[in-house]
């Protein structure tokens, strides 16, 4: 083994220039393609410091942090923060509990359980925008099967996404439908990769099931729980497809999450500056989150590939 490595480095030493440059040559095209994308990012930061409305080019000017000050004193902005926070916490919380529950149900490897877990992947593979359309058809007040079912329960004017009081519930429901399977398969993979010895020992000792769950299963599963949760947090706080396809942020501004509001500021009010400032705030949040996430993810990845 070591002699092979020595031979190898000797062989490489013959062409030192190539070896030094090779990794850069290999990764450069991928990087270059993406650098083109980095330019707009810097532009967005630049726009966020300007008063810039496409409809009023004459008023364009550099105003330092004026845009951000306007934003932070605007109740609409705080509504966006609140709506995004509620959406994110509700979806990720429900998906985590539900996903963990389903993963525990399917924990044992059997043909039936595997079949069920494969079937549950289907919502996850549905485009979120299309999933919204599916639920829109099912909650249509005239013929929607869910509207009909809920009227059987005696609730007659439940208007799903078109009522500001239930709009949040409706989009959270769609998000839960699409993304719970994500939590489920990650946690299921985690559960099945746990070493069996502690569980066998606990069974031999007759340890009660609740104790096993809280003292053995949960602590051992924590890295998976944290990774899956962070992953979903990062996606959920940026949700656009489901909400835009369902109500475009309405009714009123009851579903104006960050990206939907930035989109409307840009295309409806041609307010480039405000929209860029909104996106910079969201970027700061996701950047902080993704740093925590990447650390967690690397740890788990090392483990997955270390034991493989």
């Amino acid at each position: 083994m070591s002699s092979v490595l020595q031979d190898h480095s000797a062989a490489l030493r013959r062409r030192p220039r190539l070896t030094a440059w090779l990794p850069y040559l290999l990764s450069l095209p991928a990087l270059l393609v993406c650098v083109g994308i980095l330019v707009p990012f810097i532009t967005a930061a630049w726009y966020s410091l300007q008063r810039y409305n496409l409809a009023m080019p004459m008023t364009r000017g550099f105003i330092w942090f004026g845009q951000y000050i306007d934003l932070f004193t605007d109740p609409d902005f705080w509504n966006t923060v609140q709506v995004s926070a509620i959406y994110t916490i509700a979806t990720v919380g429900i998906e985590l509990l539900l996903g963990l529950g389903i993963a525990l149900l399917l924990r044992e490897r059997s043909r039936f359980n595997n079949l069920v877990s494969v079937a549950l992947l289907l919502p996850l593979m549905t485009a979120p925008a299309i999933a919204s359309l599916m639920w829109k058809l099912m909650t249509n007040p005239n013929f929607g099967v869910l509207s009909w079912l809920i009227s059987l329960l005696g609730v007659h004017d439940f208007r799903w996404a078109s009522d500001p009081r239930t709009a949040m519930f409706t989009v959270v429901l769609v998000d839960v439908w699409v993304y719970t399977p994500f939590m489920m398969i990650l946690l299921l993979a985690g559960l099945r990769s746990l070493p069996p010895q502690p569980f066998e020992a606990a069974r031999l000792d007759g340890v009660p099931a609740r104790f096993v769950f809280f003292r053995i299963t949960l602590p051992m599963l924590t890295p998976y729980l944290v990774t899956a949760t962070l992953f979903r947090l990062l996606d959920s706080i940026q949700q656009f497809d489901i909400i835009y396809a369902m109500t475009q942020g309405g009714p009123g501004d009851s579903l104006m999450v960050f990206q939907v509001r930035a989109y409307l500021e840009f295309f409806q009010y041609t307010n480039v500056g405000t929209s860029a400032a909104l996106m910079m705030v969201l970027w700061a949040i996701t950047y902080a989150l993704s740093n925590v996430f990447v650390k967690q993810w690397l740890k788990l990845r090392e483990r997955a590939h270390g034991t493989a």
Partner: protein, 285 residues
């Protein structure tokens, strides 16, 4: 750990039934709707027994939509074609760019290597509109807005991180000794890469390609902002179709079925690799 008494089993069966009902019913119901005409759809209470017809699919495929306002031309098949074209080309380009890069990150420790890898990964987590809104202005100046080329370029933001990080894991799992031995036999680096490394990582590359195809197909926001009607994929096209067709609910359902069928079929085919792909290689399935 688990008590296999009657109560426990009954509860478990009930819970699983509810779970399956919640997650599969919408797909099942939309599938039924796609074979119904408006009259059947509007009937209350909804009935599982009806005479199925292919009328909705025929209307979509022929591109002629009967509405109360007359015959409407629809381009849904064109949207479907756009989805196929955009997803396939994006994945092909991503493989071309991503597999060599993944190999570089897996085999070589080089200055800035990890930084470059992380920069590429960070695209997965940045808010897409942050980049898309300024990009829409640039694309107008560059003449790239509403071109396949521009869209495929931007789709790299979805496909490239996925391919890079999954394939990298597969290259790292394969021992480099075989490649070294092959090179000592006098073969060039390039031959070792194409004859040894790529075939060994083959399953990983295939999985990453399938998954990034699914994600490219399901993407909505990129084309919503950068493409007009004639270049839009099904995700955006279906939304426009809902507005255009008004109350032709059966056809909407048929359009939804046609839009999700390819990804669902691919997902069932690729399910073995899904866990690894979804977690960017952090969790082995």
């Amino acid at each position: 750990m688990e008590r296999h008494d009657g109560w426990f089993r009954a509860l478990r069966a009930m819970a699983l039934t509810l779970v399956l009902l919640f997650f599969l019913f919408p797909i099942f119901w939309i599938l039924l709707m796609s074979f119904q005409n408006n009259e059947q759809i509007l009937r209350l209470p909804p009935s599982l027994v009806f005479r199925p017809s292919l009328g909705n699919y025929i209307a979509l495929i022929s591109g002629k939509l009967q509405t109360s306002a007359g015959v409407l031309d629809i381009t849904f098949l064109h949207n479907l074609w756009n989805s196929v074209l955009l997803s396939t080309c994006s994945v092909a380009l991503s493989l071309l760019l991503g597999v060599p890069a993944a190999y570089a990150f897996a085999r070589f420790r080089f200055r800035l290597g990890e930084d470059i890898a992380f920069t590429l990964l960070s695209f997965r987590f940045a808010p897409p509109l942050l980049v898309l809104l300024p990009l829409s202005l640039y694309f107008q100046d560059l003449g790239l807005s509403n071109t396949y080329f521009g869209l495929i370029w931007v789709y790299q933001l979805i496909c490239l991180p996925l391919i890079l990080w999954i394939v990298r894991g597969y290259f790292e799992d394969a021992s480099p000794d075989v490649e070294y031995a092959y090179r000592i036999d006098g073969h060039s680096w390039w031959r070792a890469f194409t004859r040894i490394a790529i075939p060994l990582a083959g399953p990983g590359i295939a999985a990453a390609a399938l998954l990034s195809f699914i994600f490219a197909w399901n993407n909505f926001v990129f084309a919503l902002i950068l493409a007009s009607a004639d270049k839009q994929p099904v995700t955006v096209g279906a939304l426009a179709f809902v507005t255009a067709s008004g109350i032709q609910y059966g056809q909407i359902a048929a359009a939804i079925v046609l839009s999700i069928l390819p990804t669902l079929a691919l997902a069932l085919y690729a399910q073995r690799w899904l866990v690894e792909g979804l977690s960017l290689g952090a969790v082995k399935g």
